[in-house]
């Protein structure tokens, strides 16, 4: 039942928001929908914690520990980014960059977008998951073109075309998995489910499974932003309105990784872990390298954050490639910590953009004077993002690197570490330029719409908690998710 509630919340929210299109009531409805969705996700996580897994009433919905973690992430970041929406829309309208009619279509699409992501992570059927992941693209494409600027149209067109092709390639992979499971021509089969596939995995023909995984890696890897299929990502993530960027960088990429994780588990069971690990390691390191090359001298801070997402997705894949409890557990934790840091940063970047009216690093000066709170939070979130203690990303990065050095992947771990250091230098240099220096005279001081800072503070607090305390329940929760992935007994 809780699964149906979880999925119904954003849908009902979207429906209600198409009726109530503007004004205070729309904002209240929007926040209520986001809040109730996050609440149901928390409830779901609690039930999964107690019972291991929760089955839905219909549609083949089912949530195990991994689904619960993902749902919690989607709904949680959906709430955080959602809290920044009202002030974002208000300021854009004040600056007359946004027509009221378009602002009104923003909120329903936002909740539809959240719905498609939640469906993707809670369905048992690999076909339905494919449909849901494709729908995430369709739901989010008009969010990117909210302001109808030329760059945003170009970005949305690239995003739609490249991701549709990518998802088409994932469809080929899905069909091949289905084909591998086909015993008799014309035989009726039950819809392919994760649990059914895991049982069947050992008898699946290994060549077909390997080929299917390659297609799936390219396909869902496109959604996740892996190099060389990442080319849409910096455009889409930098041109989208800040709350949407936060959602896309924070969790949409993770939904792509979720799909890969599920298929990796099946592939591991069919042909052994070495095959998928090698591929993930190669794609992951390539992503980190390409991102690091850009991040050495970033000129546009929104693109900097977008490329940093490519880097972190790469690191997550490297962690999965190292394997073992430390590698996979570290990768999972890293998905969470990165989602927290990146969504906070995009919300903050949106505020900076609204004040300075530029996305260029060179033209943002004296941020800490112009917006003291935003500036301080920006600095803290950047420090968290580049992996400094005491924030959570430090812990997850150490876990991943430890898995690499201990697991005989010394060279790969060394390379990943080098790339992390390079990114560290580049990103900090850019942030430094933005924070200090003299504020341009035409830039006002003070904080407007400061309510958007509350969720940012929440994210930073969580990151601090994960970095300093590493709550006891967390290790157990991670271990349970890792077990779902067929590791650690």
């Amino acid at each position: 039942v809780i699964l149906s509630v979880l999925l119904a919340c954003p849908l009902l929210g979207a429906a209600a928001l198409t009726l109530v299109r503007s004004g205070r009531l729309a904002d209240v409805l929007h926040l209520a929908a986001a809040l109730v969705t996050a609440g149901s996700a928390a409830r779901l996580a609690l039930e999964v914690w107690r019972e291991g897994s929760v089955a839905g009433a219909a549609w083949g919905l089912r949530a195990d520990a991994l689904s619960a973690l993902m749902a919690l992430m989607v709904a949680g970041i959906g709430l955080v980014a959602g809290m920044a929406v009202p002030s974002y829309l208000r300021i854009e309208q004040q600056n007359s960059l946004l027509e009221p009619a378009r602002a009104a279509s923003f909120r329903p699409l936002y909740h539809l977008f959240v719905f498609t992501m939640l469906l993707a992570v809670t369905t048992e059927s690999i076909g339905l998951m494919w449909v849901a992941v494709e729908s995430t693209t369709l739901a989010s494409v008009f969010l990117i073109t909210l302001e109808r600027t030329r760059p945003s149209l170009e970005a949305a067109y690239k995003y739609l075309l490249i991701c549709s092709v990518g998802i088409g390639i994932a469809f080929i992979g899905t069909v091949l998995v289905y084909y591998a499971d086909l015993r008799q021509p014309g035989e009726t089969q039950q819809a392919l489910t994760w649990s059914g596939l895991l049982v069947a995995a050992p008898r699946l023909p290994s060549r077909v499974v390997e080929l299917a995984f390659v297609f799936l890696l390219i396909g869902y890897g496109t959604k996740a932003g892996l190099v060389p299929m990442h080319t849409w990502l910096p455009d889409a993530h930098s041109e989208a309105p800040a709350p949407v960027s936060a959602l896309m960088s924070g969790v949409l990429l993770n939904v792509g990784i979720y799909a890969l994780l599920r298929f990796k588990t099946v592939t591991d069971a069919a042909v052994g872990p070495a095959f998928a690990q090698g591929l993930l390691l190669a794609f992951g390191l390539a992503s980190m390298a390409v991102a690091a090359a850009f991040l050495w001298t970033p000129r546009n801070y929104k693109r900097m954050l977008a490329y940093s997402s490519v880097e972190h997705v790469g690191l997550v894949c490297v962690g999965l490639g190292f394997g073992g409890i430390w590698g996979v557990g570290g990768a999972l934790l890293h998905m969470v910590t990165h989602a927290l840091a990146k969504s906070a940063l995009f919300v903050l970047a949106g505020r900076v953009m609204q004040r300075y009216r530029t996305a260029e690093v060179a033209r943002v000066r004296g941020l800490r004077h112009a917006m003291p709170w935003t500036g301080a939070a920006f600095l803290a979130a950047i420090l968290a993002l580049v992996g400094l203690p005491p924030f959570g990303l430090f812990v997850s990065e150490v876990m991943i690197l430890r898995a690499g050095f201990a697991g005989g992947h010394g060279w790969a771990a060394g390379l990943a570490l080098t790339l992390l250091v390079a990114v560290f230098a580049g990103v900090l240099r850019a942030a430094n330029r933005m924070l200090h220096g003299r504020r341009p005279d035409d830039v006002a001081t003070g904080e407007a719409g400061a309510s958007a800072l509350v969720p940012v503070g929440l994210n930073l607090g969580l990151l601090l908690l994960l970095g300093v305390a590493f709550p006891a329940g967390l290790a157990e929760a991670l271990a349970r998710v890792v077990r779902v992935l067929g590791l650690g007994g």
Binding site: L153, A156, S164, F171, V175, L182, G186
Partner: protein, 221 residues
């Protein structure tokens, strides 16, 4: 649902239709005029529908017959009609065209790639339709090839549609149709993607005064 009654005839028919789809795909690469390409795309979709119908007839599968009808109506008739209507607004960009010889050569190479990838897979299962699997992948790859070599956005969309035909063909041949909900969802999703792309083309044209892909170069670095 029973196994195919006369595998010999059935698999010959499937191979024939699959070859026809690939051949039309090559004609599509070769012709340069957009209306001609759209007609060829419609023809390819009709053949694909015939393939689905043949499979439906040989396996007594009602769902497949519905799929065939949907392909015929939507991709053989609806989408080409929509695209023909927007075509005049997107004149061919000036400057050198892509050489048809180069396009065909690339397409031919992709057929080899498709065979290299899919033959081992086709040998794994005793399906009478397995011989068509490499041809389905070849169609999908040719669509992508059209997409990446396109100089205007409308041709890219057309390439995407051919790619889609290829993956539907693959799904048909490899699985005799996926479960109904997946089939319907996939079909609707991709249809929606095409419609959204079409809307976006209009907007791009409006604000860029052009739909040359070369003009879409503002976002760099």
């Amino acid at each position: 649902m029973s196994p195919a009654p006369t595998p010999g005839l059935f698999s010959h028919l499937v191979s024939l239709l699959a070859f026809a789809v690939v051949t039309v795909g090559f004609l599509l690469l070769w012709r340069q005029s957009l209306p001609a390409r759209l007609r060829l795309f419609a023809a390819q979709s009709v053949i694909l529908a015939a393939l689905a119908a043949a499979m439906a007839a040989f396996t007594d599968n009602v769902e497949l017959a519905l799929v065939a009808a949907a392909i015929l109506v939507i991709k053989g008739w609806g989408i080409p009609r929509i695209l023909v209507r927007v075509a005049p607004a997107h004149p061919r960009p000036t400057g050198p065209t892509r050489s048809p010889a180069g396009l065909l050569l690339g397409g031919g190479a992709l057929v080899f790639v498709a065979y290299a990838v899919m033959l081992p897979v086709a040998r794994e299962a005793p399906l009478p339709t397995a011989s068509g699997l490499p041809l389905a992948l070849a169609t999908a790859l040719n669509g992508l090839w059209l997409c990446v070599t396109a100089r205007r956005a409308l041709t890219q969309v057309l390439g995407f549609l051919v790619f889609e035909n290829g993956i539907f063909m693959l799904a048909l041949l490899a699985t005799y149709g996926l479960p109904a909900i997946v089939e319907a969802g996939a079909f609707l999703d991709l249809l929606a993607a095409v419609l959204v792309l079409k809307v976006m083309l209009g907007e791009i044209h409006e604000s860029f005064q052009s739909s040359d892909v070369d003009r879409l170069r503002e976002l760099r670095g």
